[in-house]
Amino acid sequence: MELLLDVQNLSVRYRPPGGVDVFALQGANLQIAVGQIVGVMGESGSGKSTLAASVLALLPVNGTIDAGAVVLQGTNLLELEASELERVRGSNVSLIFQEPGVALHPMMRVGAQIEEVLRAHGAESKGERRRAVGELLDLIFGGEAGRIYFSYPHQLSGGQRQRIAIAQAIVCKPKLLIADEPTASLDSVTRREIVELLKKLQRERGLAILFITHSAELLEGFADRIVVMYAGQIVEEGDATRVLKTPRHPYTEALLKCRPMLLGSEDVRKPERIPVIAGEAPDLSARSKGCAFEPRCAERMKVCCEREPELFEIENDGTVRCFKFGS
């Protein structure tokens, strides 16, 4: 498979004014092939949003990239000038955020907002832009496209707004779409609809997607590969179905057990208390000597607090950062 995006050893640090540095991302490695859907699973503080923002160098003012490269088909995005980056954003690689209500300008009609993206990246005339946007809205909204074109964001529902954000992201036909928790603020039915839309776009346009979420069930039947993040590091990576069915890293296993699952024939309410992960989320300002998950791990060994585990390879399927699989 042809490699599209290659994130190499990316480390990001936040320096809040008057506070301690936070090591949000530590040596992350990630590859996305053309047309591939990669899911990034993790909780708050895992570094997943930092990863998303870093690919397009969209970190907030107090964030610095300490090391690493983001190579998009041969070009290191982190070495580009601001104007060159502006050209890449939205046209080669797009990013959509969690809160669609906040991501759209409240005073501009949504059709015009999509046109703005076209205008930033192409030399088409106004008429051509309008047509292109109209076609895209037809594809995404079907019959209601006409009315939606002239609406303002506050007249649309959360799901509709997120679809507009997706339209903005794909109107210039990018090769990669990074979606940072795009469905977190939507209800379960709308979430599925958005995922179905993304699946359709991948099928019809060969769009590669980096889907970041804390809801594992969305990745089922959707992602090709899954990357699990914890405390700024990638702790497991592999084929999506395999990771969800037989997770290897203790964190992944514990996380998947926390879901209030509905299974086919089991008693839906056993065990009575939902399994939790013991302990608290890790403090990212302190770099521990051993494994970051060790304090909360049910299977910890002596070596786990002495050294930090690397990513160990599993036979032709992914990697795990755990001493159970290597040393």
């Binding site: 397009l56 969209l58 601001a82 104007s83 502006e86 050209r87 890449v88 954003r89 939205g90 046209s91 797009s94 990013l95 959509i96 955020f97 809160e99 906040v102 991501a103 759209l104 300008h105 409240p106 005073m107 501009m108 009609r109 703005e116 993206v117 930033a120 990246h121 303002y152 506050h154 007249q155 954000a165 903005q168 992201a169 210039c172």
Partner: protein, 320 residues
């Protein structure tokens, strides 16, 4: 639409209320125009009584108000005791002079403050921002009168600018172009004082509104889509910052007639301010009421214009 009608009704009620209050307060102040004359032994008390009767001063308040309202309906605003002439022509000439100054300076002030504020917000924290904010703070701290007098001294010493008045003596005799140039030269000093006085508040508001807009999620999202910086600033951030700035603009319109009294006095500009001041001291009742009402029209009108502009600019208000 209903929103606009509501605002218009609101404005109309305010205006009516203001006229009542103006009438009430000026009439409640002890004394009247003719009290000055009482001190003059050459004027007999019968003459005084006759004058008072002639001008209806001895009638009860409500009657006087009703009479005044009736003449207002006819487009007349009463009679000036001091000038022995109807009020509106006097007021309107003075108002025109004031507006000449204030409209020019308001437009100029906004024209300067907008880019300065946007620039300052864009480079927030860096030296551009520090210089602009520092200069604004300095100007804010200097009282208007010190600023005015300072510039006046400057004009006097350098003799580059006329030091007062609206036109030079004998300007009517000059050719048309020269008359305009003369007027312009006389305007420079008062306009400069007004613009400098207005800058700090405007720049600060523009800066803070734009800086806040730049932090908003949609600006970040638009940047993620590759929208270039300049467009982000002017089309996205400034537009979102419009709401507070429109309200401020409405206020600027509101004080077009009433905000320049000090400057007019310092530069001897024949505007509404000094005229009204004189009338108040002389108890020239109808001039005062007329002047107050005119100012109120602008104030209320300015607010209403702001409401209309907000309605046009913000679709969220429109679809309420």
């Amino acid at each position: 639409m209903r929103y606009l009608l509501r605002r218009f009704l609101h404005a109309a009620i305010l205006l009516a209320g203001a006229s009542v209050l103006a009438f009430l307060f000026t009439s409640l102040a002890p004394g009247n125009y003719f009290d000055e004359m009482r001190l003059n032994p050459q004027i007999s008390s019968e003459t005084l009584r006759a004058l008072k009767a002639h001008y209806d001063i001895d009638k009860p308040l409500a009657v006087r108000y009703a009479v005044w309202l009736k003449s207002l309906a006819n487009g007349e605003m009463g009679y000036s005791f001091a000038y022995n002439a109807p009020v509106e022509p006097l007021l309107l000439v003075r108002a025109r002079n004031t507006l000449l100054l204030t409209i020019t300076s308001t437009l100029l002030a906004w024209f300067i403050a907008l880019p300065l504020g946007v620039w300052s917000a864009q480079y927030s924290g860096r030296w551009v921002d520090r210089v602009v904010t520092g200069a604004s703070a300095l100007l804010l701290v200097i009282p208007d009168i010190a600023l005015g007098l300072g510039l006046l001294i400057f004009a006097v010493r350098t003799r580059w600018l006329p030091t007062g008045g609206m036109v030079s003596v004998g300007s009517e005799a000059m050719p048309f172009a020269a008359q305009w140039w003369d007027l312009l030269r006389h305007m420079i000093l008062p306009v400069a004082i007004l613009v400098l006085g207005a800058q700090p508040v405007l720049v600060r508001h523009v800066r803070s509104a734009v800086a806040e807009a730049l932090e908003e999620g949609f600006v970040r999202a638009a940047a993620a889509h590759g929208i270039p910086r300049r467009r982000l600033l002017w089309r996205y951030a400034l537009r979102a910052a419009a709401n507070p700035l429109i309200s401020l603009f409405g206020f600027s319109i509101g004080v077009l007639l009433s905000g320049s009294l000090l400057v007019e006095v310092i530069t001897s500009w024949p505007g509404l301010g000094p005229f009204l001041l004189e009338a108040i001291l002389a108890r020239d009742l109808y001039v005062v009421i007329g002047g107050v009402l005119l100012s109120t029209v602008f104030l209320v009108g300015g607010n209403f214009i702001a409401d209309v502009l907000l309605f046009w600019a913000d679709p969220r208000i429109r679809t309420e």
